[in-house]
Amino acid sequence: MGRYYARTLATVLAATCSLGAIAQANAGTVTMWTFLNPENTSGREVALRNVIEKYEANHPGVDIVVEPQDWATMTEKFVLSHSANRAPDIIWSAQDLGLLVNSGAVTSLNPYLADWLAENDDDLLFDNAYDNATYDGELMAVPLFPYSVLVFYRKDHFAQVGLTEDDLDTWDGFAAAVKKLQDAGLPGLLLPLSEDKPSSTIATTAYMDLNDGHLLAEGCVADFATDIGVQALTLQTDMIKSGLISQEAVARTNDDAWDLFIGGRGSIVPQTSARAGALLSSSDWANEETVGIVPWPSFTTDHHGPSVGASWQVSLWSGSQNKEEASDFMAFMASEEGAKEWAVTGEQLPLRASVANLPELSGGVFALNQAASEALNETGRFPRPGCAESSTMGDWNRAAQDVLLNGISPVDALQEATDSTNRRQ
């Protein structure tokens, strides 16, 4: 029996020493979960590879290890890994920062990046993205790929019927433009009104416009069943009833609408600005001469409608043993050098003013990025920190469907949308 205990004790000691050795070996290793794989060849993935190589060349003692993940489940998986105390040092997220913060899985970057932020504040663009990543004064993420849902339109179709992008400034002009395109036998407006994979629509944009730029009030409270909610919803349902939007739209996801647009079946489609590069590379008709990006319309001509903004951003694991190294690499990714890689090689919106004016960023996708960047800076409205808004668009779509197909009144339909949204907060 004594020999048994001696063996057990020896095993435990050996395991403890091994763990210590592993921890020592990992001291200079920064692990990162992202949806990008630096081994692949897309623009963003090549940019990530370049950023890592440059950082490691400047910091010989640090290894950046990327563990590519599926973007749809990455955040939930990270929270579970955090619970098991085995998470990577850096995590990428888009609209799930609230989950990361509320679960305690990520930590404030103020102790590590406050000085960096103060030094770079003038050069960094997209203040609203940084505001969105700040919880109670604590910066919880560094934005890398800001984007927003804007209006893509066919310049060539517009030219055929004598329309310009100025015709899309107001909702009345927007409806008249769609009518004119339809009358000329050209494809019209593609709107994703399915509950599944929803995106910004006419109704949600009009509501935000009438509600000080936000879907939800302070404290993440929804209250859609109001006069302005009904006005916004009716604006959209009237366009369907009058035939400006096909009834098929209620079965269309955001991806469906986009695929149809790429296939030449639409002249106007709302879509995330991040897909501009994919449009140019996946269709033979699309270039900066045939496609344009504009902000959403509004009810008046004195301003554009708001666009829902978001950003892929990086956060620091609260249990990381390499917080200094990891946060330093995060800052490097948003440095001038990093921002240049993302913008030029990765074809993303430039993160810094100093990069935005580079001569390399002209023509092709960069022209579209330029338009998107201006629209995002002017009209981008990021969700309030910690609010779960991503499914709210689906609630609005369901409300539109209930009004059109189930004969439910707009107020009652919006009350259900309100209840569904509030239940998630």
């Binding site: 609230g98 989950l99 679960s103 399915s194 098929e248 469907q401």
Partner: protein
Amino acid sequence: MAEAGVATVVGTGGRRSKLFRVGEVKPYLFVLPFIGLEALFLLLPLGMSLYYSLFDIKYLIVGDFVGLQNYFEIFSNRRFLASVGVTMTFSLFSLFFTFIVGFALALWLVKDNGHSVFMRAIILVPYVISMLVGSLLLKWVLSQDAGLTDLLLGPLGIPSLSILGDPSTAMAAIVYNGVWRDSAFAMMLLMAGLKSIPLHIYQAAKVDGASKLYTFWRITLPLMRMPILITLVRLLLYFVNSLTFQLVLTGGGPAGATTNIVLHMYRSAFEDSLLGLGNAMSFVLFLFNLAIIAVIIILFRVSGRTPK
């Protein structure tokens, strides 16, 4: 204490009876690992599901104990109750048409000649295609904007219609999807049953001058009772618990017309991140499945045959 080598239990009369001797226990020991696996992968998750359904869980964070509140919430939710109706409509229509088509195919192709073997292979194609891929293909075929329906229906004088944008036709579309894909499966199960009927019974009926219809009603159908019931059970459980058809083809729409219980549960748990509510729905779905099995058992009893 039990005698060595003999397992004993207390009988209903209170006296100790010897039920199992060593030789009789051994087969149960072989089965034990599989019962353990079943417990691990079925009973344990089921117990956890019931446990977590009693909590308010948002975004993977277990909150307060709320008792049966999640259950009260789902049964007072108009959309959940509607999803029960959708589940029943979809399951029964799909079951009916899949069974009819599957049985017809099985009768047609039961003989092992070259034509039957070739046709069986053709008919099995939808079944071997991934459900996701098949549903996605059908979605584009039925699309009003870019599909084939206008091309096919236009010459018949039928005006352009949005099959997926109308509640009644959207339900028909997912039923069609189920029938298209799973008739082959029904065919295989029923064909196995048909092949088990001794050939000499048919030969005797033929000698007696029985017509084909008479032979079918008085020989084939009675002897197919068990395969038919097994096929019906298998298909019904499959349709009740289906997710891919609704998720990919219609997204549950329009206006919830094709949102079944499983899709409602999936959305609550994984899109809305309300895992307590989702677990409550999954437990209700489990009870729904039990009810279906109970109905089938009653059918077995009514038909005078119990499953062996």
